[in-house]
Symmetry: C2
Subunit: 893 residues, 2 copies
């Protein structure tokens, strides 16, 4: 009865995690292939329990292991017709580690074990002398490294010296006799280093290799890897001993790699490459160009050699059948390694295959429709983040990149264009149909038109939530922010990065997905939605509980959002409506007004414009809820900063520069993030609230004349207690009553607040008395809860990531322990006071899958994100709901 050793064809009572724990990943995979009848080179697994025994008993193997291994080796001999140490027909084996989870490159293995001065002769007869001696010297080198502890470079130096002596440039230049000489030389090296000859007894080779592989579990690099990936020490590794097979035994032998479907498109059909009469290493080394496996593949590559299908039709048929079996068994695209030895197919490895995003969507949908997997399973297989690639152009990954510098990947997608440094230039260029990149130290609301006109935006300062970043994401335009190495000289119209200088008009490429700024126009890949994308998203919509809205400031944004499936607007920032076109003039009059009357007059001029913008937006969102936020940024953001701008604005506004400067000085703040903004403006200037309420409600009336009404939700930002909100709500209700008087009717509307300050989260119960909805502003809530200004965090965030202090950027993925607890507190306290309160989130985290999963668990009603992230949020919400239902079912079970 097997105790320590499990042949691949061992009969298991049932598959399960216990088997994986005992055999490790590689052993379990080989056993699984053997179990479903695929031709796997015979072999066996020495279980992970032996590893525990070995390491726990002073590196001694269990006493009864010997008999079990010998019996298993006898089984290999029987299966292969070769015998271990037989000079005529030697059985060679590989000895490989295999832990429960893959630890790439961390563990050791030894190939071609069983070769010695006698069996190499037998191998030479079977596979040719050059291959035999090359294999032998590799075995010596590998064994010396893994088992004997001799450094690799000793052997490499010796080989280099030999090649120089013989005038050979490459390993492939050496012939069989020369490899034999190298082999003798390596044997001598081992003997001189260790004072004993290289072990010739195959059994001694085997036992020493097994011990070394178990011992490698304790190597420093393996320990570090485990600590980084939280892999328990106690798991240990298994050892897999497997008969070697050879694809280089003549014209009926071959080796190759195959995918069960096209990993780029997801199309069904065998896809892959092979080399006739070659070993697996030859495919990897890239010395010979492999040929397509299938005839279909050959058709696409006329210059290639014959396909495996045409050359070895029987082996091909066996391979095709094996692939079908594997895909059906594993219910996923498989990435396979195979070898054909003298016409006979051997499956060496199978694993889930990497694939493009398009392929992943298509494969998941097709498998679900074929009944191989459930729709839930199909949804769970797609990484929501990956959808971003489907929606934006990307720099061709194969293209050469002339990297200028790197900044924050602030808004995904890529674009090329001429450098311009001013928003007006961007607008001019657009009129001339020239593609431009707007390069600014930082952007301000006045740059919005230029940003619209540009293909992409690049800033030297600011973070992921800087003006440039937020606006660009809303527009779906690529943006790199905070590329700190860039210096802009507006006078000379140049930008410098270290020693490199770029002038206005020079072409660059901005890759907003990676943060890379490239010189010239990099080749692009245009986005194309995969065939089954719509179907997948419809399944996601059926599966999810969370609603998904979009953050949109304009009708154009809203159109994109509806295209991507948004179910309303969760955040419409009205401040952009204060700067577009000539409005900034009126806004500045508001700021410079010396009396409430003067301010009201300026507001009256803004009213029709704001109402018009909102009417357009509401028309797009007919039938859906739209959350409109009252003016939020501090007023100084609307005033000019540079001397030249100040002079210009003073002249345009017919005020003295002194007065303008005094107002700018009075409004300047040490920490604008924590300053006179949000609801604090509404308290100071109730007439702004009145104007905005009127614009919102009148726009809702006008938009409803042509279709289903929107439900406007008026949102008050930066609230910290009930009194603030109650005062502003009273102002809103009074303005609504005025509209009702004048128009005879007023649309239904709601008043609510953002929860974006820690105090607001704690006081959510009291605030809920005055709020019909909460929308979590997780950007500002993160800034305040963590005390981190996102725009200033670049200086230490990299350190923080490296040191593991903040493994993930809390502005991208919600800090669940800190900010998340505040969200949970606010949800609980808000609902306790007002059970039907509507709860949403409109921070950047609304489009982050892990954060969406948290919001699902926290019980929010909706998430809102930038339009281009809506599909991501829809899928993430579906996954979160599926996982939640599974967890609930498990709890019940």
């Amino acid at each position: 009865m097997a105790h320590w050793v499990f042949p691949f064809n061992h009969r298991w009572p049932a598959e399960g995690p216990e088997r994986l724990a005992l055999l490790g990943g590689k052993g379990a995979g080989l056993a699984e292939m053997a179990a479903i009848g695929l031709p796997v080179p015979p072999g066996f697994t020495i279980s992970t329990e032996v590893c525990g025994h070995y390491l726990g008993n002073g590196r001694r193997l269990p006493d009864d292991l010997k008999a079990e291994v010998e019996a298993a080796m006898a089984g290999l001999a029987e299966a292969t017709g070769r015998r271990f140490g037989d000079p005529a027909s030697p059985l060679l084996v590989s000895v490989r580690s295999g832990a429960r989870v893959s630890m790439p490159g961390m563990m050791d293995s030894v190939l071609n074990l069983g070769l010695n001065d006698e069996t190499v002769v037998g191998l030479a007869r079977l596979a040719g002398p050059r291959f035999a001696y090359d294999s032998y010297r590799r075995f010596i080198q590998m064994f010396a490294d893994v088992v004997l502890g001799l450094p690799q470079n000793l052997f490499e130096q010796r080989l280099e010296a030999f090649k120089e002596e013989r005038g050979r440039a490459l390993d492939t230049d050496l012939d069989a006799a020369e490899w034999e000489t190298v082999t003798r030389d390596f044997e001598a090296l081992v003997e001189s280093e260790l004072g004993e000859p290289f072990p010739q007894d195959p059994w001694q080779q085997l036992w020493r290799a097994v011990g070394a592989v178990f011992g490698s579990w304790q190597s420093p690099r393996a320990k570090v890897y485990r600590s980084l990936h939280a892999i328990p020490e106690a798991w240990g590794t298994a050892v897999n001993v497997q008969a070697m097979v050879f694809g280089n035994m003549g014209e009926t032998s071959a080796t190759g790699v195959a995918f069960t479907r096209d990993p780029n498109t997801g199309e069904r059909g065998l896809f892959g490459e092979y080399l006739a009469n070659a070993q697996g290493e030859d495919v990897v080394a890239g010395i010979r160009t492999p040929d397509p496996i299938s005839e279909a593949g050959s058709a696409a590559r006329p210059e290639a050699g014959p396909s495996l299908q045409s050359l070895m039709p029987d082996a091909y048929a066996a391979l095709a059948g094996a692939c079908e079996t594997l895909e059906r068994h594993f219910r996923d695209l498989q990435d396979i390694e195979f070898t054909i030895e003298r016409g006979r197919l051997w499956m060496l490895q199978t694993r889930s295959g990497k694939r493009s995003v398009s392929a992943s969507v298509r494969i998941a949908v097709e498998m679900a429709e074929a009944g191989l997997i459930s729709r839930d399973e199909a949804l769970l297989r797609i990484d929501p983040r990956s959808l971003e690639q489907l929606l934006h152009p990307t720099v061709d990954p194969d293209a050469k990149r002339d990297l200028i510098t790197t900044g924050l990947p602030a808004s995904p997608g890529a674009a090329s264009g001429e450098i311009v440094f001013l928003a007006e230039e961007a607008e001019e260029a657009r009129l001339q149909d020239r593609a431009v990149i707007l390069v600014r130290t930082e952007t301000s609301p006045e740059d919005i038109h230029g940003m619209h006109a540009a293909e992409a935006i690049l800033t030297a300062r600011g973070g992921m939530t800087s003006h440039a970043a937020v606006v660009a994401r809303g527009m779906g335009k690529p943006c790199i922010a905070g590329a700190g190495m860039i210096r802009i000289d507006l006078e000379r119209q140049v930008m410098t990065v270290g020693q490199r200088l770029f002038r206005r008009g020079d072409v660059i490429t901005v890759d907003g997905s990676t943060g890379e700024v490239l010189a010239g126009a990099a080749p692009m890949r245009q986005p194309e939605l995969p065939i089954d994308f719509a179907r997948l998203m419809s399944w996601a919509d059926e599966a999810r509980r969370l609603k998904v809205r979009a953050n949109c400031d304009t009708a154009a944004d809203a159109e994109a959002a509806r295209r991507f499936g948004a179910e309303g607007i969760g955040l419409c920032r009205t401040e952009h409506m204060f700067v577009e076109g000539g409005r900034i003039q009126a806004m500045r009059e508001i700021i410079l007004a010396e009396s409430v009357a003067e301010r009201k007059a300026a507001l009256d001029r803004l009213l029709p414009m704001q109402r018009g913008d909102l009417t357009a937006l509401f028309r797009v969102m007919q039938g859906l809820p739209v959350t409109v936020r009252l003016l939020d940024p501090p007023l100084h953001e609307f005033l000019p900063a540079s001397d030249a701008e100040i002079a210009e604005v003073a002249e345009a506004m017919k005020v003295s520069e002194t007065r303008l400067r005094a107002r700018i000085a009075a409004l300047s703040e040490y920490n604008p993030m924590l300053g006179h903004r949000g609801v604090r403006l509404a308290i100071s200037y109730p007439e702004i609230v009145a104007m905005q309420t009127r614009a919102i409600l009148e726009a809702a009336l006008e938009a409803s004349a042509t279709g289903a009404p929107v439900t406007p939700q008026i949102m008050v930002p930066l609230v910290m207690n009930r009194a603030e909100l109650a005062i502003v709500k009273a102002g809103i209700d009074a303005a609504a009553a005025a509209v009702a008087r004048e128009r005879g009717t007023v649309p239904a509307y709601q008043v609510g607040t953002m929860i974006e300050l820690p105090r607001a989260a704690l006081q959510a119960g009291a605030i809920a008395e005055a709020a019909e909805f909460f929308s979590f502003g997780t950007n500002d809530l993160t800034q305040t809860a963590l005390g981190i200004s996102r725009d200033d965090s670049a200086a230490f965030m990299a350190n923080y990531g490296r040191a593991g202090i903040l493994p993930r950027d809390p502005f991208s993925t919600l800090d669940q322990e800190g900010v998340g607890e505040l969200v949970r507190i606010a949800v609980e306290r808000g609902r306790a006071v007002r059970p039907d309160i509507e709860l949403g989130i409109c921070g950047e985290h609304g489009g982050d899958p892990d954060s969406v999963a948290f919001f699902e668990r926290a019980g929010l009603d909706y998430v809102s994100c930038s339009p281009f992230r809506v599909p991501i949020a829809r899928l993430a919400a579906a996954q979160a709901a599926i996982i939640g239902r599974a967890a609930a079912a498990a709890d019940r079970g």
Copy 2:
């Protein structure tokens, strides 16, 4: 049996709140005086229950009230020997409201009720015709206003017209006949306005007055007052009817006010003034100058008339006895009104007397020592905030003030001096023994020497926690911050405030307690500790549980702190040690270093200076704990800002201006409060932590050579999670190990953290795993929890106070709902993980009594505040402990 009406001499079963509720404050006080046998003019109270009945039954008085009132009025007649409506010897009464709590000026009363055309003649015989008719016309006027609803100004206009007609300037110019004419005129006015004559029936006068007083509970101004002070509507008012007595019935009559002790010094002995043959109104009107009551008082005022003691020794003796009785009974300084009518003393009112802070301390201590009150009671009687007056010079409240402008009262005390605009000038002036006021737009660490040299600091920008404010409070120097009207022109060396201009050298006065900037040198009052201050504080120390430490950065601060009774240092900010003297040069080298080695070299130059500063500090604090905070502010605070400074520094440091400017630009931040500071610096520059740890531990070793060792507590600021603190702690421990190796020993030390971010409070459990102590940094915790930058809050805080959104400045008094909940959460979670964790608070709130009470309830171990606030904190902590024990006892009972 009395039901609605209670004569003052009613026998009560026991005193208590029920009696107060029934009689109101005034009625209860009069009853109390009557009960202890003092001569109170007889009277009675119609209870608050009648008010409820009256207002609840359509303004109808209870049916059975009439008989009770008539019986009580008969009692008055008996007691006074006069009868209501008796023309020969008329009984006159006052009818006054008296609610449970004092509502000054809010309720109505009617005096001299009972006068009519007949009784006025009787009164003229008793007190002279001029007084009689003046009283009568006043009664008509008052009755018309309160009862008949005729506006006062009708009568005033009529009187003015009469005086003009007769050529009389003042009321006092009118003689008896003229007052009689006025009286007739007023009667005619009432009749013409109302169509009926002025009521002559005293009983009708009484009932209408009673109804009117009850009705006045519902007057609009009373309602507003109640809603502002949260006084329940249901309480109602009582009505007090009391016989009038007269101090103007000849040379054996008098009227006066007295204190049972000197309210300025607290010295025992009758203190007050009187007027012979006069009414109370005459004292108030200030037409005649009152004379001292006692001979001791006369001695101090040789120019005054004879004392009451010499003039009417019997009455004086009765008064002195009454005062002694009252003080003993009420166990507090009493403020008394009395009248002597024909040699007989009548007590009209007694109430707790207002007093100076010095007097309050002395009185409380003396009463406790005399056994009149307990020590706890003595401690509870002193408002801790008032102690501030004892510790700083103040502007003489009686002096004329030439107010220039007002800013934030950032550090209390007052000082005068010449204006200087630069720190260096302040230092020069000090060498010449000239007193100067340092006037800056804002201060920076480089100004510290100048601040030391100046008498006071005045800044145009910044808030209560600005650099100037924090440093000035630490130094105990007056400071006004954020005086936003001030414009400083450094080139011309002038400051302007509106149209006023002040030059360098002009003398101004800064009142840091009120925020007033005054022109010239205002007269000052120097502080003087009252005799019993030390005793009171020693009682406080026995009573309190909370330890009190001080926030000190220098040995000089620490000396002040020990003098004021600090039990350690809760916060030593090391950043000042980076700028004093030539150190800023080394600090700038650290910032501009291009390699760790360069930075370490600069740190090595700083080490001996920092060690020296700390050694001096530790010597002062021998035997006590000292919490030293690692470098906290962002590095850009150490770099120059203006063009001139940049040029100067670049030259001094031998670096190019370009490089210096580039570094300044790289370090500049949008929101420095939330930027690269605190522990984030420690993570980025571990070599700074190593140097500071070495300086702290070596200084502790050196200081302990001459006395008891201090316990250094190394505090890491701005921590938000465990990992940050664990990494820095490892660096601290490594540096300590290095010191131990070199010196053979290392002092015991602790490592802890500030809790000043909401996330840190929530994660206090995990953080406590790495922290031996927490110190709540409630300044920054308030800024982050509320999302308010203190320095920028002036723009909206005034609105917020007015609108009741934030009734108290959360930077002065802890926001218990928001920030307080975070403190409670952190206390609970920290102690759960580490039960013996030391918990303190070092924000500005450590010196605020209400906040200290909260910290007592939250179970902290200590509070730490600026040295000059230590006595306040000691007393506040004692009061909080006493109240806590009383509450606990009440819970048990």
